[in-house]
């Protein structure tokens, strides 16, 4: 009954698939995130491409069995390139009635529902808001259903280990993982190992979990299997050879910025205040002390932004991070960083708003805030990563731009990127050109606001440097000495200099690429940030159907790439899908007077490929 025993049977009657979407759903206490994570690991080892997306409940630990306490983890994996976490699941695992209630609508018609019979008690059904038992009426008619009393089978499987009933029940998720692993022909060895390490100090718990896992796996393998249990095989995807890992956007971004500051030869000081979904960046960086990373949990977002600026003033790179309301609070401080021309990175993990909104849901609605959310003319650089792996590159790039141009940089991430994970081909850091910071230390001819002729950056001076003592501040500064100046002409000159310095960053950028398709055509689909995956799939599909459609995906929101206007002019129509009411489109229309059309969705969830496909077809019919 070992993992390899399962392998022997694998060729028998497995239905080959190109890609599949599986969602694990259960109560917050059911360990669905862990289950999903371990399945992801097995899937990565099996060589499939994948994207995962956890969907946490808004509540910390809502009362057991309620719909709002349901926690889900979705994984999309396949033998081809996988770009999204999947439009709608092919398989939903429901650990209780509430999970079924919440997730059934999303399931594809004809998809598979695996439900734990043992939890469909009258009490649980009532909590989930079912009047009648959906397993006993026609609710599940349109689907392939697999009712198994997972609770009972788990208790039986772990009996021998002698753990308490409560601990035994906690192994249900491993039983389920075993079953699903069997269905998709995953090797459970990595999970067995993980459980052994995790519960090293609690050997009976380890044994119970492993027993449950293997029992679930064996359930499929053996005759106990219901005849309707579908089993599949999915070939490994083609990957560029190399070393891979999975990473969430937050992890990749944290590492990217850390690599960036190390390549710049300076310390990273991250000051933040917890907020969903931004907090995890603070958590990841808090564990990187040996890489010259200091973290500071401030009393609020304002203090966090100010402390980060104070750190930059001191010669480190200040990084601050928040979401929605917390980013709004940093506006005033950001203005000071702009005025004093200090480097700074502000990571904005966007979430659904306005105000507190839906803190655990994704949205792309802070582009306006990033561009315009400060008093007066206050330009900054804005970057938007497209995928969790891209977060790494954007992290490095943000450090480079901030330190070389002496400017704040805002990175627009979002709930999706924070949580989604995908395989990432690890770069070799030695391939990245270091960009060491040159602090000014020569008093000869020093003026704090005399600019570098190429970048427009003012010199960066570390307090403690003899002979360069000077004062800076938020009052308008004379163009050379930085002394307070109310001179009208100086104000115009400095306003222009700030604007032009940021615009000048575009000179140092590669031109905008066409991400998919030709450089001219009927429709350009222009997106930014985390919608890359679904847009790419949609464009590919429409192209495969023979239409002249291209994808242009922006990483540089401000300044925009210099060739963008020209590119857009090459298309009859421009379609701008965004998870907001129309923000990038406003910028493109005003910059290029291009009559772009928006595809806007504000429901707290990523785009489905099909929605974008439909919008492209609508354009083509014009």
């Amino acid at each position: 009954m070992s993992g390899s025993a399962a392998l022997d049977l694998k060729d028998v009657r497995r239905e080959p698939l190109e890609a599949v979407v599986v969602r694990f759903a259960g109560d917050s206490g059911d360990g669905m995130q862990l289950t999903g994570g371990l399945f992801t690991e097995e899937t990565a080892i099996a060589g499939n491409d994948l994207v995962t997306f956890p969907d946490f409940p808004a509540e910390i630990r809502a009362p057991v069995g309620t719909t709002y306490g349901v926690s889900a983890f979705q994984i999309h994996f396949g033998s081809r390139t996988v770009m999204t976490s999947g439009d709608s699941p092919d398989v939903v695992v429901c650990m209780n009635p509430a999970a079924l209630k919440v997730n059934l609508d999303d399931l594809k018609k004809g998809g598979v529902v695996i439900a734990d019979l043992g939890t469909f008690t009258p009490k649980n059904l009532e909590k989930a808001g079912f009047d009648t038992n959906p397993l006993e009426d026609d609710t599940l008619e349109p689907y392939r259903r697999i009712d198994i009393d997972i609770t009972k089978l788990t208790l039986e499987a772990v009996k021998e280990t002698g753990v308490s009933k409560r601990d035994a029940q906690r192994c249900k998720n491993m039983w389920t993982l075993g079953l699903v692993s069997w269905m998709y022909d995953r090797d459970i060895e990595s999970t067995v190992r993980w459980l052994g390490t995790k519960f090293k100090k609690l050997p009976d718990i380890a044994a119970a979990n492993i027993a449950a896992l293997k029992a679930g796996h064996a359930f499929g393998e053996t005759a106990e299997m219901p005849t309707s249990l579908p089993v599949f095989s999915i070939n490994p995807a083609e990957f560029v050879p190399g070393e891979y890992r999975t990473a969430t956007g937050t992890e990749a971004l944290a590492w990217g910025m850390t690599v960036g500051t190390n390549l710049a030869g300076i310390k990273l000081v991250m000051a933040s205040y917890p907020i969903t979904p931004a907090s995890s960046l603070l958590h990841v960086l808090a564990g990187l002390k040996e890489y010259n990373v200091t973290t500071f949990q401030a009393e609020d977002e304002i203090a966090a932004a100010c402390a980060a600026i104070g750190a930059s003033y001191g010669g480190a790179l200040g990084v601050t991070s928040s979401s929605g309301p917390g980013v709004a609070l940093k506006s005033e401080a950001l203005g000071l960083a702009i005025a004093t021309e200090l480097p700074l990175i502000l990571v904005n993990s966007q979430r659904a708003g306005p105000s507190t909104g839906m803190p655990t849901k994704t949205e792309q609605s802070d582009l306006f805030l990033a561009l315009y959310g400060r008093n007066a003319d206050s330009p900054i650089v804005i970057l938007a990563p497209r995928s969790s792996a891209d977060c790494f590159d954007v992290g490095v790039e943000a450090v480079r731009i901030a330190t070389q141009f002496m400017t704040p940089v805002m990175i627009l991430s979002d709930t999706y990127l924070v949580n989604a994970a995908e395989p990432w081909k690890l770069p070799d850091i030695n391939d990245i050109e270091p960009f060491p910071v040159k602090f000014r230390d020569d008093p000869e001819g020093f003026h704090p606001f005399v600019r570098d002729s190429e970048t427009g950056a003012r010199p960066w001076v570390r307090p403690g440097t003899p002979g360069l003592e000077h004062r800076i501040g938020g009052l308008e500064r004379a163009a050379d000495s930085g002394n307070v100046s109310n001179d009208p002409i100086n104000h115009q000159r400095m306003t222009d200099a700030r604007i032009n310095k940021v615009l000048g960053v575009a000179d140092a950028l590669p031109p905008q690429q066409i991400d998919e398709g030709a450089a001219t055509g009927r429709v350009a689909v222009v997106g930014w940030g985390s919608t890359y995956g679904p847009i790419n799939r949609a464009v590919t599909r429409v192209r495969d159907a023979g239409h002249e459609v291209s994808q242009i995906h922006l990483r540089n929101i401000w300044p925009l790439p210099k060739n963008l206007g020209e590119l857009l002019a090459g298309f009859d129509q421009v379609l701008v899908p965004e998870l907001n009411a129309g923000q990038l489109i406003t910028l493109l229309r005003s910059e290029y007077l291009c009559d772009a059309k928006g595809l806007n969705k504000v429901v707290g969830q990523p785009f489905r490929i099909a929605e974008i496909e439909a919008a492209i077809h609508a354009c083509l019919e014009n």
Binding site: Y244, V269, A303, A308, E332, F392, P463, L468, R471
Partner: protein
């Protein structure tokens, strides 16, 4: 960092910038900048290792007049900038300057937390009980009944006592002095600077334009009978003739003024100042006219490790135990696989 013995002696001039001072003629801030410069000269930290960070307000113009590094930031947030700076570079001698509005109105929370965390900075609060720069509105330290542009019929809210606030939020060093106290003020500066951790100094300051004379009863030469200068280990005696003292009323748990020599009272009845006693500090902070003198000096000092030093110690310990940081290894933490 601070090897004064080797360097040539510094003078107040070495701490004076080339900028015109733009306070109103007669403003108490002139005396303060003078006192601070001379204290710095005595302390002897080279100017390049000194940083003044301020918020916004008349007081907050202070950094411009010092030839050290200076950062005139935004209203109320100076303590947060200072905290970030200390995390970036713990070696610097960082001073935070602001007014009563800056530090106790909009900035109350940051003053609170920089003191609670015990970040190694010296916080100088110039208390003129008014908003100077915005032309005279009342502030959180203005007395009840203050008529100002925003309270034409007089304010109705109770002022906060900065020193009580500082003690309440957990400050470990709390002192009080006043602008024209040109002997006392530099001593307080030196004590504050010597304290490793957050030092809070309230400086009573006369705003000659909008609140002239508010402190006449405690902060002028003539006010000596209302001035209690507290010194560690010394009895709390005051008055021109040094004939008054502070006694603890054990029934009301309150401090009261007694006359030495009257009713058989001797120095033995007088409370001896103990800088490390938080309860005593609380009582001293609340003293003031008309019934009692105002307390000046180091009211409380009970040092402990500073926040920034603890943070850096934690980091140093991690680094000491870790291998040389390898960026490729960072990315490869946890599970990876090869294709």
């Amino acid at each position: 960092m601070n090897d004064a013995s080797a360097a040539p002696a510094l003078t107040a001039q070495d701490f004076t910038s080339d900028q015109d001072v733009r306070w109103c003629p007669g403003c108490g801030d002139y005396a303060i900048v003078k006192g601070v410069r001379s204290a710095l000269a005595e302390i002897g930290t080279p100017p390049e290792n000194v940083v003044f960070i301020s918020g916004i307000g008349c007081a907050a113009r202070f950094p411009y007049y010092m030839s050290t590094y200076g950062f005139h930031t935004i209203h109320g947030r100076a303590p947060a900038f200072a905290t970030g700076l200390k995390l970036a570079n713990p070696e610097l001698d960082v001073w935070v300057v602001g007014g009563d509005g800056d530090m106790l109105s909009i900035g109350g929370n940051h003053t609170f937390h920089v003191l609670r965390r015990n970040v190694d900075v010296n916080v100088l609060l110039f208390n003129n009980e008014i908003y100077g720069l915005t032309k005279g509105q009342y502030s959180p330290t203005s007395r009840e009944g203050t008529r100002s542009p925003s309270t034409p019929l007089g304010s109705v809210d109770h002022p906060v006592a900065p020193a009580s606030f500082a003690l309440g939020v957990g400050a470990r060093f709390v002192a009080r002095t006043f602008d024209t106290a040109q002997k006392h003020l530099p001593i307080m500066m030196k004590r504050a600077q010597a304290n490793r951790g957050a030092s809070f100094v309230e400086i009573l300051q006369n705003c000659i334009v909008y609140n002239d004379g508010t402190f006449d009863d405690v902060a002028t030469k003539k006010a000596v009978d209302n001035q209690l200068f507290c010194e560690a280990g010394q009895p709390l005696i005051f008055g021109k003739e040094l004939d008054r003292g502070i006694r603890l009323n054990r029934d009301t748990l309150d401090l009261e003024v007694v006359m030495l020599g009257e009713n058989g009272i001797t120095e033995d009845d007088i409370l001896v100042h103990d800088e490390t006693n938080r309860t005593l500090a609380g009582m001293l902070a609340r003293l003031g006219p008309p019934d009692t003198p105002m307390a000046f000096g180091v009211l409380f000092a009970d040092p402990t490790e500073s926040y920034d030093s603890a943070v850096h110690a934690q980091e140093a310990a991690v680094k000491a135990n870790a291998d040389t940081p390898d960026l490729n290894a960072l990315l490869r933490r946890g599970h990876t696989w090869n294709v």
